[in-house]
Symmetry: C2
Subunit: 283 residues, 2 copies
């Protein structure tokens, strides 16, 4: 690390803001059938994965996103046994999901195998549960997978995707949500990353409208910090099939037997807080 | 706004991360006796104030910081009548403080009058309470002001300063905290911006140690989103003279008669949540 190290910036055209990290160089690059995947080494944030120019994760701060995509939904469901992760190719969400002993099976469906291969090589800590006998890694189209899955066969669907442009666009519409609603058992929950509350509130509103039309009676948006994404503040949106979303299994979360770095009962409650400017979502 | 608009970046040397905004140009610049103050126009974030290369605030996101520097401390104190703001030259914290009807007097002590003059011109919405008869604007050394103020004369001290380097360095040590402890009435509260929990945890620990040595029996760190500061996640630390910091006047906050955009009872509670990695602070 020197004062002269270069900086890698991602300019978010839509929000007019940018995030950057000081890097020492590019470690690897692969052009898959779907996208360009780059790995950079940073001075202070460990490794950095970039897909088509968009920052995906760093070694240092990915725990925030991965924990908040997995634990709130799993501690909201009464008894999550079967989980499907759409996207999530870096395997960090899968690792968090498998910390829950009651989960019997977790299928990860990412369209791009190269994301997982790069993660295995540069983020091995995220892949440490890939060989858990409960884990199943598929490299396939998540939209088709959810369309074809047996009805009422899943307890939780986690959509851990890139932004709603390009390959991930089809994960943010009514047809996809209808597939999820059909696949979920009664009381089942869909959770999807839903961008920054500060700059994507209209996207969140549209998602929730589509979820409602697709048959989800209740939805709710949770917020949490995430430095490497636009504005540094991120969200996920939960939608439940036949059931409320006002509480969660606080006793279970309080007595959890696995370790986390951000998630606990307090931060779960905090994520449920609705700032004044988000009141229009109806939470 | 065009695709070719330039970007203004602040590289945070200490954290190895950067924040940027798309700009259309520099509107103004003044070199005061203390620092270089620049005003930029952005494409999506309104005006941007930069001091000595460090991003201070944008029109769009300053509400987060200003509300969280004012309302949690004022709703924690039982009856805040006399308030001192050290720094805060943009006047946004002062505006929030004066929304509280029980506040009888609020003195803002910023060393650099030019910050306030630039704010009056480019952020007039932040200065709309500068002529409130309860407001007093001093342009003076805040460290000396607190050293010389009458003992037990103040209910709340808000330290709304720049980073602990340069002019603000003397606001983060025992001598300054001892002045604050002496100035506060029993039950009085000091609150200070305390940087990013993710990259400045050791600074927060040091601050709280210094606060304890200076006579504050209890301290507590609150967190909130703030896109224009390093990591997009920020904190303030409260320290109370003779009293706990476990709760706040929830009923007062719930029935507040003024409007806010982030702050409410829920976000106040959320700010009090302690993520797992912050447990070492003892909150």
């Amino acid at each position: 690390m020197t004062k002269d190290s270069p900086w890698f910036y991602e300019n978010f055209e839509q929000s007019g803001s940018a995030i950057g990290f000081r890097v020492t160089g590019k470690l690897d690059e692969v052009r898959s059938a779907f996208q360009l995947i780059e790995i950079w080494n940073t001075t202070d944030w460990g490794k950095l994965m970039v897909i088509d120019g968009a920052i995906m994760l760093t070694s240092r701060d990915n725990f925030l996103y991965h924990e908040m995509m997995a634990h709130p939904v799993l501690f909201t469901h009464t008894n999550p046994k079967r989980v499907v992760i759409i996207g999530g190719g870096d395997c960090g969400t899968l690792r968090e999901v498998l910390k829950h002993k009651e989960v019997e099976n977790a299928v990860q469906v990412d369209i791009d195998e190269q994301v997982t291969r790069m993660s295995e090589k540069y983020f091995p800590e995220l892949c440490e549960s890939n060989h858990d006998p409960r884990a199943e890694l598929l490299f396939d189209d998540g939209i088709a997978y959810m369309r074809n899955i047996a009805p009422e066969s899943v307890d939780v669907v986690i959509v851990d995707s890139t932004d709603p442009v390009g390959p991930a666009e089809g994960l943010f519409n009514e047809a996809f949500y209808a597939s999820c609603a059909r696949a979920l058992r009664s009381g089942g929950i869909l959770v999807q990353q839903s961008e920054s509350p500060l700059v994507h509130l209209s996207l969140i509103k549209a998602m929730r409208h589509h979820m409602a039309v697709a048959g989800f009676a209740h939805s709710r948006t949770l917020t949490f910090p995430q430095p490497c994404y636009p504005t540094g503040w991120w969200s996920c949106t939960l939608a439940r099939k036949g059931g409320e979303l006002s509480g969660f299994r606080e006793r279970g979360a309080y007595s959890k037997t696995f370790s986390t770095r951000y998630y606990n009962v307090e931060t779960h409650r905090a994520a449920l807080a609705t700032p004044e400017f988000m009141r229009e979502l109806g939470d």
